[in-house]
């Protein structure tokens, strides 16, 4: 019976059906299935399949994003049910946002989706976020990576401020800083002391793996 549930969870993610994913997760718990097994044998293979179909060109962005949403919907049911020492197996925890004064968020959101589809846990704090809001989120969630997006030449300066704020909060060596956005360059990232720069969402995933020192 458990195999049947894993298959259904996987299908809900692959087909991009968040409502189904949530309902199946609930049923699985009612049927006393192990939530961690449901995640690892149902949801994870599901999102991996979605990622695979996206990279081969079969899936487009909406399929990728709705697939990730389906996974999230099921996780919201399954994660709180984890018991004892059970822990979600994530590649890394990422705090992601667009900096203060900047309302461009399509690129940032896409970076978040790609990271999620590749096994990262992403907390997207939104656009127009102050340095303090980033620091607060890092402290709250214990991030491995903080990602800051900026699309305006006037708001790129906030990325520098973020690096400085992390330094003064004693977090600079604990969390890796990744920056991106149209006017941002590799050189600028190095100048301000960020740990990584990505030109687009796909390379952002590679950089994040590198920053985690994990194999891609």
């Amino acid at each position: 019976m458990s195999e049947e549930f894993y298959k259904k969870l996987m299908a809900a993610v692959v087909d991009g059906e968040p409502e189904d994913a949530e309902a199946i997760a609930k049923e699985a718990l009612e049927a006393n299935l192990d939530p961690l097994e449901c995640i690892n044998k149902g949801l994870v293979p599901g999102i991996q399949k979605v990622g695979e179909l996206f990279s081969t060109g079969e899936y487009y962005l909406p399929e990728l994003i709705i697939g990730a949403d389906a996974m999230k919907a099921a996780l919201e049911i399954l994660e709180p049910a984890l018991v004892g020492g059970q822990k979600l197996d994530v590649v890394g925890m990422v705090i992601l946002g667009t900096v203060e004064g900047d309302l461009h968020e399509i690129g940032k959101t896409l970076v978040g989706t790609m990271l999620t589809a590749n096994g990262f846990k992403v907390v997207d704090i939104g656009a127009n976020q102050s340095v303090e809001a980033f620091v607060k989120a890092i402290k709250e969630h214990g991030a491995d990576i903080v990602g800051a997006s900026a699309l305006l030449t006037t708001t790129m300066l906030q990325q520098k401020k973020l690096v400085e704020a992390l330094e003064s909060a004693g977090l600079k060596n604990k969390v890796k800083i990744m920056v991106g956005g149209a006017p941002v360059t590799d050189r600028y990232a190095q100048e301000i002391g960020a740990d990584g720069y990505a030109e687009d969402a796909i390379s952002a995933v590679d950089i994040a793996f590198r920053l985690m020192d994990a194999p891609v």
């Binding site: 060109g57 399509i106 030449t153």
Partner: protein, 482 residues
């Protein structure tokens, strides 16, 4: 100073992409969105104005729902035509039917250095260079912030005005002023330039474009800045950029409905605050690449490309239509010309009052100075296409044809001597080298840029005006940059 006059696009012809029913349906969609879904205004100032005039305001979500009759009442106040003043009164732009005024693109952040070829961050000096080229070209009826003055910190929008005025005598539309503080300084500079508030209102030498945030959100800094300019009668462009699939429905009509609702909600606010404020309507819809979300301005099927112009006119508003703005990275590739080739013609036929977009590459981000000249050529090609043809006995030349007879040639005719020089207008493509071969257009374009930079020096503002402007800039720098 000798410089070519402005040559706007003029045409008595009109192109319609939408029929009356479609325009009605689109407008109805906007009414419904405004009344039932609402638009978010994250600005207490805006919310107070809406409350005062009877809109339904939710202070927690900051969503404003605007009843249909309020929309209609406010929209009745928007002027259809007005004047964009210039530093040089000869360049004042009087909005009117059948005339489209064009300008350059903005606001990029990279410049490919004209001397070294190095791609680098743009500076105040580059803004001045672009303004100077703009001042010379007849395709340019007014000027836009082409790149940003990244060496000037948070007051860069003010430095961009300053350096534009030093190098350009046409109307200036800022792409970057945001927020009350910056806009107050901008108004102060414009008042000094114009000499009095009354003159400022009659012939505003500046205007501002602000963007909305699809779907259905307004930008606090943009809206509050625009309200400051509105107090003085300075024109505003409200531009929405619904991107199909990401920030708007992936259907064309749906994207236009979202974009229109954003523009109209901001316009209503402007009219409630300062009835009669001149506002341009603009929707720059784009496509998100379904694989990468990259911003795409030119898919193969971009039918009804200038429907937004008709939507604006249907509301009784003037329109800013976007043309040019290729995704190509190079100054002169097939792509950089092909993508945009039909734009200037279509937008002028649609009847947009003002049009932006000449000269940048890489989706509005990179300036090669020579692109200005290359795109200027595409502009003029469209302009000529729309000029009326002369058909009269002299141009029909039936007598000359009779003289030549079947099988002869026209080279020895006086009629030919008189007309041949001007019958073919040379663009950048047909410039001859010494041996009579056509030159490389890019090389010629670079030469033109060099010539303009060496020879064209528009008169700067009067010394006492400049002194005042310097003082304002200093105060702004001290307050905002320290």
């Amino acid at each position: 100073m000798d410089r070519p006059p402005i040559e706007p696009m003029r045409t008595s012809r009109k192109l319609s992409f939408l029929d009356g029913q479609q325009l009605k349906d689109l407008q109805e969609a906007t009414f419904q969105i405004l009344e039932n879904t609402g638009v978010q205004f994250p600005s207490d100032k805006a919310l107070d104005i809406f409350t005062e005039h009877g809109a339904i305001v939710d202070r927690d979500s900051r969503i404003v729902k605007i009843p249909r009759d309020l929309v209609i009442r406010a929209m009745g106040k928007v002027p259809r035509y007005f004047t964009l003043g210039a530093r040089n009164p000869e360049f004042d732009l009087i909005l009117q039917d059948g005339v489209s005024y064009f300008t350059n693109d903005g606001c990029g952040h990279n410049v490919v250095d004209f001397k070294t070829g190095e791609k680098r961050a743009s500076t105040k000096k580059d803004v001045g260079m672009a303004a100077r080229i703009n001042d010379y070209l007849s395709s340019m009826a007014f000027s836009w912030t082409m790149v940003s003055a990244q060496d000037c910190g948070l007051t860069s929008p003010l430095h961009e005005i300053d350096v534009t005025w030093r190098n350009n005598t046409k109307h200036y539309q800022s792409v970057t002023m945001m927020g009350e503080k910056i806009c107050r300084y901008g108004v102060e500079m414009a008042t000094v330039l114009r000499g009095s508030e009354e003159e400022l209102r009659n012939r505003p030498p500046i205007s501002l474009i602000v963007c909305t945030i699809a779907p259905l959100v307004q930008d606090k800094e943009a809206i509050e800045g625009a309200l400051i300019l509105g107090e003085k009668g300075i024109p505003i462009v409200v531009m929405s950029m619904p991107t199909m699939g990401t920030t708007a429905p992936a259907t064309y009509a749906g994207a236009l409905a979202v974009g229109d609702a954003e523009v109209i909600s901001a316009t209503v606010l402007m009219q409630l605050a300062n009835p009669g404020t001149p506002v341009f309507h603009s929707i720059f819809h784009a496509w998100a690449d379904p694989r990468t979300a990259a911003y795409v301005g030119y898919p193969l099927d971009s039918r009804a490309r200038y429907a937004p112009v008709e939507i604006a006119h249907h509301w009784g508003m003037p329109s800013l239509g976007g043309a040019f703005g290729t995704e190509a990275s190079e100054p002169d590739s097939w792509r950089s010309a092909a993508e945009i080739a039909t734009d200037p013609l279509l937008v002028a036929l649609a009847g947009a009052e003002i049009v932006t977009g000449i000269g940048l590459r890489d989706t509005y981000t990179t300036l090669y100075p020579e692109s200005f000249i290359l795109d200027d050529d595409i502009y003029h090609s469209a302009r000529f296409s729309l000029l009326d043809m002369d058909v009269n006995p002299d141009t029909l030349a039936v007598d000359v044809i009779a003289t030549v007879k079947p099988g002869g040639h026209f080279l020895s005719q006086k009629h030919t001597r008189k007309n041949m020089r001007t019958s073919m207008v040379r663009g950048v493509i047909h410039q001859l080298d010494k041996s009579g071969k056509y030159r490389d257009p890019s090389e010629y374009a670079r030469e033109r840029v060099q010539w303009i930079l060496d020879n064209h020096h528009p008169e700067p503002p009067d010394e006492d005006v400049q002194k005042e402007i310097d003082r304002i800039l200093k105060t702004a720098d001290k307050e905002l940059n320290s």
